[in-house]
């Protein structure tokens, strides 16, 4: 019986050792989700990049400096989702069927409380009305609505693609969709295949296997929000860097 099957929990494992920081994920995401080009006054702190790649280094000076690129998107917190509980008017939705946290921009009043709540800085506010160079608005993706200024938006694992895959399955008389039928634009566009996407609840899936590996970790795991985006790297400094704060804190606890 189908009801015995566990509900899917979509998640990602991002292999930092495979990411060369090309930015394709950011661009494919913007194309898929109809994010407009930057306003002329926009900057790194006011721009909209649902998927953003950030260079992270080991804080060592030249020539011992080493770095990796972190593709950062909504970490899709599964438990006590920080942004979901704070929204005053239910414009953030946690889908219990898939575990996907989605923003409903048409209901958002733009208070930005969710943005202060998110420790991953994965939420973006429309500081300007969207504008496309003349004609470019005809090249928008028909599956995703555009947004206006004054509302918050963020990654929803390309929810539009999930809907499309489901619709297709429904037409073909299937109740479930196959893994290969649904993949977010960032994972699809990655030229080095650094982004694995799939169902974490399915013990046999590649993502759940990779997520359990010893080289995999999550950002701010200790907050207990159960993010569904994992990172992996074989470089020990990356792990040290990510756990640096955790370790100091533990040490102080022991001695204090």
């Amino acid at each position: 019986m189908e009801s015995n099957e566990k509900k899917p929990r979509y998640g990602m494992v991002i292999d930092l050792d495979r990411c060369n920081g090309c930015g394709n994920c950011t661009l494919a995401c913007a194309v898929e989700n109809n994010v407009p080009p930057a306003h002329e006054n926009a900057n790194e702190r006011t721009g909209i990049t649902w998927m953003r790649v950030q260079k992270v280094d080991n804080n060592r000076p030249y020539p011992e400096n080493r770095s990796v690129y972190f593709p950062l998107t909504c970490q899709q917190c599964d438990h006590h989702t920080p942004c979901e509980s704070v929204c005053p008017q239910k414009a953030v939705e946690y889908d219990t069927e898939t575990g996907i946290v989605a923003q409903i921009p048409v209901r958002c009043l733009g208070c930005r409380y969710c943005m202060t709540a998110c420790p991953y800085h994965a939420r973006y506010f429309n500081w300007w009305d969207p504008e496309w160079p003349k004609g470019m608005e005809t090249a928008l993706n028909p599956d995703v609505s555009t947004r206006m200024r004054g509302v918050v938006e963020k990654c929803n694992f390309c929810h539009g693609r999930l809907q499309a895959a489901r619709a297709k399955a429904a037409v073909e008389g299937r109740r479930a969709i196959a893994d290969a039928e649904y993949i977010p634009a960032c994972a699809e566009s990655c030229p080095t295949k650094a982004i694995y996407f799939g169902n974490l609840a399915d013990a046999g899936s590649e993502v759940s296997r990779l997520a359990k590996e010893k080289n995999s970790f999550r950002l701010l795991e200790q907050l207990g929000t159960e993010p569904k985006v994992y990172f992996r790297s074989e470089q020990s400094w990356v792990h040290e860097q990510m756990n640096a704060k955790l370790k100091t804190a533990e040490k102080e606890k022991i001695h204090g």
Binding site: R45, L109, G110, W128
Partner: protein, 410 residues
């Protein structure tokens, strides 16, 4: 010229002088309203807020102003519920200040949100788990209560009194004022608390996050108590300021001292609880989230001095001063203590709003800074100017201090 509007038995400056006094404020208001229009019509790109500093000067201001405006509910509570009749001397002024603070805060909030026309969606699709929903509901209701409390003060105006039906209305309303005071107190407790909860629930911001007592984080209770503590101090300060500016005695010295005493007694409780809360946060909450408390204070600008200033210098010190009768009796020290107490709360709200956002959360985050744009500052100043104007007119034409006539004739 406007003599017949001015209360019997008190003197007010000439209309010309009054005009001179209000014109700079009016100008400030106009400039501020221009900035508000820019923000409303061009969008929030007019501010220097950004995706990392999603809350800025305005939210800080809202929290501060509402804490200071708490004098209205707490004085009402003491007067009408606990029957401290001495406070009748300042209740009208407190109501006006409360009204100014709350309406100013709501006004700024309407500019602060990206889609003000959708603000009412909160009433339509409320998320009961959100502190902001609680804040929105309570503030909206309490603002109505304040407006209702303000109405009798207006209706008692010498000229308006002549309309008999208005007088009847005022009388009936006054009989109900206890009910409104009670409702107001209830609402205030909630939204002061919810404003504290606003940051206390942020699990993603370990600097602000506090564990829950019941369903609310400890900041919920700390905000209520701190607002109750400084409300009277702020009434004391504003009364003293008005008295200084107009050169008139407005309330008896005992009233000042009583306000100081009330403030001090609550402040000492607050400081104690805040200290306990801070110790728990340093030793348990923060480390359990993976952050050593010390790591939050290693950035230039926000050292541990800010914690010392908030809790000791502007918390414990004024509390002890206000509890000492000798100090209370010396007007200058009384004012100093009240000022310190208010500063403590101003720092606390700053720490909760601004410092929380400036601090990194991800292991590779940078420390952020933010400087408000002129539009943000002008909007803030517009609230100040609006408050000044409302208060000035109220003071001139309404009876804010019932003891004034008595003290003048002395």
């Amino acid at each position: 010229m406007d003599k017949k509007f001015i209360s019997r038995g008190v003197s007010r400056t000439s209309i010309g002088n009054f005009g001179l006094w209000i014109s700079p404020w009016a100008l400030m208001l106009v400039v501020g309203l221009y900035a508000v229009m820019l923000c409303l019509f061009k969008g929030l790109n007019q501010t220097n807020m950004d995706n990392r500093f999603a809350f800025g000067l305005w939210i800080y201001l809202d929290l501060t102003v509402i804490a200071l405006g708490a004098g209205a509910f707490f004085t009402g509570f003491l007067l009408y519920i606990l029957k401290r009749k001495e406070l009748k001397a300042v209740i009208n002024s407190a109501v006006v200040i409360g009204f100014i603070c709350y309406s100013g805060a709501v006004g700024v909030l309407m500019v602060d949100v990206g889609q003000p026309l959708r603000a009412w969606f909160t009433f339509w699709h409320p998320n009961v788990h959100s502190m902001l929903t609680e804040v929105t509901f309570c503030i909206t209701c309490y603002l109505m209560v304040l407006a209702i409390e303000y109405v009798p003060v207006i209706l008692k105006n010498r000229k308006i009194k002549h309309v008999s039906s208005m007088l009847v209305f005022e009388h009936e309303l006054h009989k109900l004022i206890v009910v409104f005071a009670a409702v107001g107190t209830f609402l205030s407790f909630f939204h002061q608390g919810s404003l504290g909860g606003l940051y206390g629930v942020l699990i993603g911001r370990p600097f602000a996050f506090r564990p829950a007592l019941g369903i609310w984080p400890t900041t919920f209770f700390l905000f209520i108590i701190s607002a109750a503590a400084v409300g009277p101090s702020f009434i004391l300060l504003t009364t003293a300021l008005v008295s200084k500016i107009t050169g008139k005695k407005l309330v008896k010295p005992e009233v000042y001292q009583l306000l100081g005493k009330i403030s001090g007694s609550i402040l000492i409780v607050y400081v104690l609880l805040k200290a306990i809360d801070t110790l728990i946060w340093i030793n348990s909450t923060s480390p359990s989230l993976g952050f050593s408390a010390a790591s939050f204070y290693k950035f230039s600008g926000f050292g541990t001095w800010i914690m010392f200033a908030e809790i000791v210098l502007c918390g414990l010190v004024p509390a002890l001063m206000l509890l000492n009768q000798n100090i209370r009796q010396q007007f200058r020290w009384l004012i100093t203590a009240a000022l310190l107490a208010c500063t403590g709360i101003v720092i606390n709200r700053f720490v909760m709003t601004i410092q929380t956002l400036a601090l990194p959360t991800l292991p590779f985050d940078a420390y952020m800074s933010y400087v408000p744009s002129w539009q943000e500052v002008a909007t803030f100043l517009a609230v100040l100017a609006y408050g000044m104007l409302v208060y000035s007119f109220s003071f001139r034409y309404l009876t804010l201090f019932p003891q004034e006539r008595e003290l003048q004739s002395l």
